[in-house]
């Protein structure tokens, strides 16, 4: 890229170009886009319903009628995996959104307030890091209920700590820079500065960290569902499918393998994309890739 065109690019566009220049990142993004599309429309196109049983069929190997076979209740695995993927992705994205909103709000408040308020708010975050959150989430799921919205709110409510730290660090670094002071000198209001100047400049780290949060959140959802505390059968998420597969791993190992492969490939793509985004937004770290 010549320096002439680089000048005219916004930071977002430049980061996007750096991201797509690595073939691995483009592959990861393409895979995720295809997956979202498949999980979104696949279950509708499938001739089967994800919970439709065929008790005479039972568990079968992949065939023309059932591309990934059927489970012991005769349910079509491909339909169930795509439906489960949709649930897992939804939980992953919604929980990350909850975590990002809390983290950005908390981190911005702390960074902008500064002084004692900042110190106290960050001390609270330090203390919260020592909390056994997995126990709280399990307890919440076990006693309050296993509803869909509760799963992602509960997971989001425990995953915001690092986001808050990242955002606060950025705000502290930015808030006394010349362009903010200049905006203030021009008479820009507080919210105008936050919305138009601060937030766009914190967006990079937020995107990077959010993309690294999604796989962690999806793992947590799968763990809860695996323990029987998350998504409840006959509804399916990848955690539910893996749990059902693990039960019959001796007789039908593919029931564990297929959802496992989908899940691992998705986690891999998300991790690669997260690393790629970090490099794209921070060209200095490119050399370490």
């Amino acid at each position: 890229m010549s320096s002439g065109t680089k000048q005219s690019l916004s930071p977002m566009r430049a980061a996007w170009q750096r991201l797509m220049r690595q073939r691995m990142n483009a592959c990861a993004l393409g895979f995720l886009a295809a997956l979202v599309l498949l999980c979104g429309i696949g279950p509708k196109l499938s001739p089967y319903d994800q919970s439709q049983q065929d008790l005479e069929l039972k568990a079968t190997n992949p065939s023309m009628a059932h591309w990934l076979g059927t489970d012991p209740l005769g349910r079509d695995m491909l339909t169930r995996i795509l439906h489960g993927g949709r649930v897992s992705l939804e939980v992953g994205l919604l929980a990350t959104a909850v975590a990002a909103i809390i983290g950005v709000f908390y981190g911005m408040t702390s960074g902008l307030a500064g002084g004692r308020t900042d110190a106290a708010m960050m001390r609270i975050v330090d203390i919260l890091y020592a909390f056994p959150f997995i126990n709280f989430v399990i307890l919440l799921m076990a006693i309050v209920g296993r509803e869909f919205w509760l799963i992602f709110v509960a997971i989001g409510a425990v995953e915001w700590l690092t986001m808050a730290r990242v955002v606060r660090g950025q705000v502290l670094a930015l808030k006394n820079l010349e362009f903010i002071i200049a905006a203030r000198a021009c008479g820009a209001g507080f919210w105008h500065i936050v919305w138009r100047h601060l937030l766009p400049n914190v967006m990079g780290p937020i995107i990077i960290y959010a993309s690294l949060t999604v796989p962690g959140v999806m793992l947590l959802e799968a763990a809860l569902s695996f323990l029987g505390l998350g998504i409840q059968p006959p509804d399916a998420s990848w955690g539910v499918l893996i749990q059902e597969g693990a039960k019959s791993v001796e007789s039908y190992p593919w029931l564990l393998l297929y959802p496992g492969i989908f899940f691992s490939a998705t986690l891999l793509a998300l991790n690669l994309l997260g690393d790629g985004l970090r490099d794209a937004f921070d060209p200095k770290s490119m050399s370490q890739q």
Partner: protein
């Protein structure tokens, strides 16, 4: 240093009492109360039960009683396992979790650190890419997939170990392997990143310039500093491993703390859920403190401040 430790212990005590309060509050959100799981129980018997456990008192008094139990280290009785103190139950579950977790930690370090160092010393070669890819794949393999596959291969097919349960002296091997492999992937990535960063620093050039051998440069000078991020990760990870991975204990049906916690959470044994959460929090606090002290010992640039 002393001030730092004292202030961290005070902070830890605050954490522990906050955890007691939160777990208590969560357990009070259950509809029907703690003795709801008792079947065919008469009204008087239920009243007597509630009286016995102090459940008829106002919530704030109950919370105060909890605080008193933990402050005096005189832990209450479990609701579910009649007549057994929660400390007895923790004492029976923790050795199982700790044996598996401790072995997993050693496996994770034994694989992760050499693999990461190996990759860091050969940047951008085939070996580097291959080991980094292996580590990335390891991170993306959930324990709930790897565990049953390991149980299938070594337990059911090869019959080297029991596929599940806690009967033989060797039953820690498969769960520890599952956890160890996954954690080793994280450790390998951290080691590689931080060792490469460290090797690019000035003091490494100084060490080389004064004629130190490559081995001395890497193992005496670089590793000391490069181990800091790994240590930082190991604090919470070790606490998590030792108190039991909920998934692995479920897959291999181990009678560890995680299993006790899930059972207690689902059958309303609030004394036990509070006790296990508190125990877990205490371990996290202890490990974080240990990590901070070790970091200060390893890096002269870190000064501990209260």
């Amino acid at each position: 240093m002393i001030r730092f430790i004292v202030s961290r212990i005070v902070q830890g005590i605050i954490v522990i009492f906050a955890v007691i309060t939160i777990t208590f509050a969560l357990s009070k959100m259950v509809p029907g109360g703690a003795v709801r799981n008792e079947r065919n129980i008469t009204e008087e018997a239920r009243k007597a039960q509630e009286e016995y456990y102090g459940l008829n008192k106002p919530w704030i008094v109950q919370l105060g009683l909890q605080f008193k139990h933990y402050a005096m280290l005189d832990l209450p009785e479990s609701y579910h396992y009649k007549g057994r103190g929660v400390d007895e139950i923790i004492a029976s579950g923790f050795p199982v979790s700790a044996a598996v977790g401790g072995a997993a930690l050693l496996i994770a370090l034994g694989i992760g650190v050499p693999l990461g160092a190996f990759a860091a010393l050969r940047p951008n070669t085939f070996e580097d890419r291959a080991s980094t890819l292996a580590a990335t794949l390891g991170i993306c393999t959930p324990s709930m997939v790897l565990g049953p596959l390991i149980a299938l291969l070594f337990g059911l097919k090869l019959r080297w170990f029991n596929a599940s349960g806690w009967f033989d002296a060797s039953d820690w091997v498969l769960p520890a392997l599952t956890l160890g492999v996954i954690y080793s992937a994280y450790i390998a990535r951290l080691t590689r990143g931080s060792l490469r960063e460290t090797l690019a620093q000035e003091f490494i050039r100084t060490a080389r310039a004064k004629g130190a051998s490559e081995g001395a440069v890497v193992f005496l000078h670089a590793m000391k500093l490069a181990s800091l991020p790994v240590l930082n990760y190991l604090g919470p990870a070790a606490a998590g491993l030792l108190t039991g991975s909920f998934i692995v204990e479920t897959v291999f049906q181990l009678p560890g703390l995680g299993q006790f916690f899930i059972a207690a959470a689902t059958n309303g044994d609030h004394q036990l859920t509070i006790a296990i959460s508190t125990f877990y929090a205490a371990l996290i606090v202890a490990f974080n403190l240990l990590v901070d002290i070790l970091q200060a010992a390893l890096n002269p640039r870190i000064r501990l401040q209260a």
